[in-house]
Symmetry: C2
Subunit: 692 residues, 2 copies
């Protein structure tokens, strides 16, 4: 409830109880909702909201042109292909086993029939790869993830962690799906803490082989996509154990990646020593066959070590260009950041679909109304605007932020610039976790905002929520990823004080730290005019101020607590604070990108619509955290009140262009699919679906 | 993110950047999460959280004795019955059609084999009825709802809206499931706004019959439970149309309820004139067969009018003990409040199961740890405590509040006391909406808190969330119900000013209004000692202050806006504010009940544990709304900070008795069922489930 909480109404005008009371009884009359003793019809007249202010006339074409991705052609090709193949569309109800087969067939259809070959783009044109992923994800999210497992995880591990010999041997088979494969990192006992993995790969110099073993049940590889049914290979992450000539006899070289064949190329039988079980029914993504793998002395040739960052020679000597176990492991994991970029990007895609369905239906749906007048659209209720309009604004905000992330990632893949690598790493961790957490909550809000009809499976919220849910966990758990963002900020904070340079995205910290460490300006704290509150400078300053102060304070707290609690204890004592810092930072980055996008929009009316959304995004976030701002007198009480009023007003304004803003996502009916959100005759399409 | 937001850290000690920075780098080293370049092993030592303070020794038996419901015997009988009948247990994966058949068989088994007869308790012993509902709901939520449709909705409408002739004719058949039935109120176009229903029941004096008609597609009865497959009858809500002798020819007497046979008693064929379609696959509750009904001149005898509140004589004359259409409709709907009480109560049951699974697993699961020390339980992370401990405290809070609601409801059913009717009506609307919204969000938090293993269907969060989701919507949409609570408060506010009496639950408004309308006390606003913050008087005062102020202010705002916008417009302009008021009020009622429950607990150690939870509930809510309190200087900046610190500390304290608090719910493993939450050998039970 806190998000709707009126944090400030107490400063609202004082009441004259008696007069009010009389009127109140009459007011409450208009409300005659379900299952309640219902008073008589109201007598009071009303003016409906939508008549309240002049509506902005948005050039929809210009807006969608501005929003449109570069790779719309391949996306449309994908939509057309699946549209032409009803046999490849996922029905509303399907068993797990059938769903898995269908999903595999969808992938085969995409690659072998539609001729879309995602693998080549994984390395060479990531923007295109992500566009493909977004499109197939909206066909069925399971397909998006299945494709990601095959090309980005299994394929990606081979080309990014292996060397030329691996590429030569596996590229074509992975590309054309002859070599289906898995990415086997997680174990039953270790997910987030990958350094704790226990599977071993022991070098046997006699036979020139590695022996893969699962030392105990906790080390069973778990959740491995493609393992339960379709995979022929797995990239297995295991501790490399080398024989030594000292008393210990062996040496643990840390976690490395190995290609392990798990099923016979011809018979598809599980290979000897490999035990595969099915992880079973999941909350969602049941088109993906996640399995659990146990290895009993499975032998693989030495060549199957993915040896880009570390190699073992014929005689068992270890070589690497990188000095330490941790550097090597870091480099290994660093190559996999693309998965996270993809999830952030795909999550915005889900948010777009969900917001579109909820908003289109809320425009159509009417319920209650002023006495003796037609019922009103539920989107005219202030509460419905509160549920959906900041969400619509946020969708735009995240759109621009993730497009930027994808660009940066592509650039990084080309230049391998070190600064950029660090930047993309933290940005992808932050955006992935922030956006997926938001979308997960938004999906529930959308379902609820559509009432009973939102609960029909055909209207999509259920499967979208169930499929998307795990975006918060895989490719790095959100709570863990945010800590990486916080750690990165602290590192840069330190650099700043040592006079180092700060990278592009974060540079505001450098510029602003000094300003923000001083007390808030008591004069501007009182400015409450709309022009001021809608000034990007005020908004950005407020976000940056908050981040800078959070950073400075947590640094001090960490320092204090580490004296008594040690590093681990101090970090834990400040953990909520650190997570807040990370989120605050990400919100700041998102706002900066949104402001830039508004500025660069060439069409004036489109720009005006974006500006409304951007202001709503900014002020809604400030209002949500008004306690922080009030507590240090960054805003005075009346300014807080003005921010709240303006937020409600902007929600109402955005409602007036909601249709245009949603249309600009250019999601055709065959992508949104929910009958209640069809662009024409929604009700009759809905009744048809159930058989009338 | 707002809930974790550090609203106050800026007042934390100022930093010495340089020293801090050096330490920070070391601190950040301990963090080596998945898929990221991971730094070297940390060197700093740590003290784990759980060693920080002395643990309270809770007498678990005393605590569970205090928590235990009166009707544990019948609940155990139900559990035992289903335990002994594996054929009646719902498998993880099941098709919609099979699920519906199974669900019907579960109900038949319960009634005819286990001999549990819920129908007699609907009217005579509601507490027992709700206990049965809770127990069957934890077997399968679909069964709980299916049972509710049969006995509380269909059966309840017959006995509560009908008269002796209906009871005599239908009681036994409903009781023994020969007369399966539906409650057909909602239409495609009208859910919350039931006064807008369009189905008609026209009296035909020639044949002494009513003719039921669906005038247009928007009037198709929709979402009707039991209609798609099993129902033989439906209580249909339709506008009663009577012939008149004036020029209009007919008169619309408003919505009434009629018993309409929809399927043949022998052949089970749909009867002539009735068209039934299947609403299809839903987000959850797929064991319930919701259908859509269209009527084409379906004739029923005059006796089928449920005539308790209004009757039609042989010659078409209308009689009623109640004066107006609205009074009659109100009385009709008022009889159905039990469904809402049941949902609030059942929702707490779901929350208990979900919190139990998440907390038991969080105690077991270990991930990361201080350097060279064993990994720690994830419940030792401050962030995990933040996710789950206020939730555990809230579960206790809602437990006591809904137990109270059920008691009041039973009393009301016995006494029919008018004051109590009004009280129960508002309280059930408020608690139903507040608790179900909370539980819906909590289920997502629990899934996420359990990481990947929380996503295995077998661990329950998916089905619990999907099934529970609609609790927010049916039996009255939450956003609509909260408005009823607000309207009720405004009504009482008015009564107060007219010198009327306030009923029990709300009486604090009477007592406190005068105090709270004055300015906050600048002295107590600065008190920040733990004793003060944990004093129930401070906590209740803070909650009541907020509610009183919100009420007073919204009354004034409504008065102001109604001048220009009319009643409907003014209400809408203040809608967010009104919803906040309603929530604030409900939170206050919940806190008062919790404080009372702590006070009355006979065992000192159990009492101490409850006190921890109660303080956490109270302070967490105050902190969530700290902006409001700060803005009117109800709390000074340092007090705000103290509240935040104490909240984190209490989360940690509650964590230390989390096992005991969860155990006291007395949910046996065969009820929680999630392998990851088994009370012993959870991991090995989990591996067994997937086939190892
Ligand atoms: C559908 C699905 C598909 C998957 N596919 C693959 C795959 O193909 N290959 C593969 O290798 N893996 C795969 N995974 C595994 C996935 O990567 C892991 O689930 C993920 O890394 C999280 O690890 P975990 O589940 O062990 O959670 P844990 O690490 O056990 O986390 C559990 C909880 O503890 C909290 N927590 C943990 N550490 C900390 C900390 N330091 N501070 C605060 N809180 C903490 C987390 O926030 C989380 O809420 C898949 C998982 C699923 C569910
Ligand atoms: C699984 C299931 C089982 C059901 N079983 C039955 C049954 O057996 N019998 C039966 O008769 N019905 C049944 N229903 C219908 C149920 O009672 C309705 O769905 C419910 O009353 C809500 O109505 P609605 O769906 O039309 O939502 P709407 O009233 O259309 O509401 C849609 C949205 O608009 C918002 N809204 C509406 N009015 C206002 C307002 N005044 N102010 C602010 N916001 C507003 C709501 O908050 C909601 O978010 C069932 C529904 C489902 C999904």
């Amino acid at each position: 409830m806190e998000s709707r909480r009126e944090k400030n109404p107490m400063t609202e005008e004082e009441s004259d109880g008696l007069i009010a009371a009389r009127r109140i009884q009459r007011l409450s009359l208009h409300l005659s909702p379900s299952l309640t003793p219902s008073p008589s019809l109201p007598l009071v007249q009303t003016e409906t909201c939508s008549a309240r202010s002049k509506k902005l006339d948005v050039n929809g074409e210009a807006l969608s042109l501005y929003m449109r991705g570069k790779h719309i052609d391949i996306q449309e090709k994908i939509f057309d292909f699946f549209n032409s193949r009803p046999d490849l569309q996922t029905p509303i109800e399907i068993s797990k086993d059938d769903h898995r087969e269908l999903c595999m067939n969808q992938l085969i259809g995409l690659v072998r029939e539609a001729g879309v070959r995602p693998f080549r783009y994984v390395a060479d044109d990531p923007e295109k790869y992500f566009a493909i992923m977004e499109a197939v994800g909206s066909v069925d999210m399971s397909l998006g993830i299945k494709m990601g497992v095959q090309y980005s995880l299994w394929g990606g591990s081979v080309i990014n962690l292996g060397t030329k010999k691996h590429r030569d041997k596996y590229f074509d088979g992975i590309d054309n799906l002859d070599y289906t494969g898995c990415f086997a990192m997680t174990e039953l006992h270790h997910g987030s803490n990958v350094q704790g993995l226990q599977t071993t790969a022991t070098f046997d110099p006699l036979k020139d082989e590695f022996v893969i073993d699962t030392p105990n049940d906790g080390a069973i590889k778990w959740w491995i996509g493609n393992a339960a049914v379709h995979g022929k290979f797995a990239t297995v992450f295991a501790r490399l154990i080398l024989p030594t000539h000292d008393s210990k006899g062996v040496s643990d070289m840390g976690v490395h990646a190995f290609i392990v064949p798990i099923r016979d190329m011809k018979t598809h039988q599980t290979l000897p020593g490999v035990e595969i079980q099915d992880c079973g029914h999941k909350v969602g993504l049941n088109g993906v066959d996640n399995g659990a793998l146990r290895f009993r002395s499975v032998r693989i040739p030495r060549d199957n070590l993915l040896n880009r960052f570390g190699d073992v020679s014929r005689d068992g000597t270890y070589t690497s260009s990188l000095p330490t176990i941790n550097k090597r492991f870091g480099a290994t994991l660093g190559e996999l950041v693309g998965g996270r970029v993809g999830l952030a990007y795909a999550s915005v895609g889900v948010l777009k679909i969900s917001a579109t369905i909820a908003i289109r239906y809320s425009l159509l749906r009417q319920q209650f109304g002023p006495p003796k007048q037609p019922e009103v659209s539920i989107l005219d209720y202030q509460s419905q605007q509160h549920k959906l309009m900041p969400m619509l604004a946020s969708t735009y905000a995240y759109h621009f932020a993730t497009v930027y992330l994808v660009e940066k990632y592509s650039e990084m893949k080309k230049t391998h610039d070190e600064q950029l690598v660090a930047d993309v790493h933290a940005l992808s961790a932050g955006l992935k976790s922030y956006v997926t957490s938001y979308t997960a909550k938004a999906l529930s809000v959308c379902r609820e905002a559509c009432g009973g009809h939102g609960y029909a499976a055909v209207n999509r919220f259920g499967s979208l929520r169930n499929d998307h849910d795990i975006f918060q966990t895989f490719e790095g758990d959100n709570t863990v990823l945010l800590q990486q963002v916080a750690a990165d900020l602290l590192k840069r904070y330190k650099e700043k004080f040592q006079g180092g340079t700060l990278t592009v995205t974060w540079s505001y910290l450098r510029e602003s730290m000094n300003t923000y460490l001083s007390q808030p300006n008591p004069v501007t704290a009182r400015w409450e005019g709309e022009d001021h509150l809608r000034d990007p400078k005020f908004q950005l300053d407020a976000f940056r101020y908050r981040t800078s102060r959070l950073l400075q304070n947590v640094a001090a707290r960490l320092q204090k607590h580490s004296k008594t609690l040690g590093g681990f204890g101090a970090w834990n004592r400040c953990l909520n604070h650190l997570l807040t810092l990370a989120e605050s930072h990400i919100e700041t980055v998102i706002l900066a990108k949104f402001i830039e996008a508004v500025k660069n929009c060439p069409d004036p009316s489109a720009k005006a619509a974006l500006k409304l959304a951007c202001d709503l995004y900014a002020l809604d976030r400030i209002w949500k955290d008004i306690g922080t701002y009030r507590n240090v007198d960054y805003v005075a009480p009346n300014k807080a009140k003005a921010i709240h009023k303006l937020t409600e007003y902007l929600s109402f304004q955005v409602r007036n262009v909601a249709k245009e803003l949603v249309d600009a996502f250019e999601l055709p009916d065959h992508v949104t699919r929910a009958p209640i959100a069809m662009q024409s005759d929604a009700y009759s399409q809905y009744t048809q679906v159930v058989g009338f």
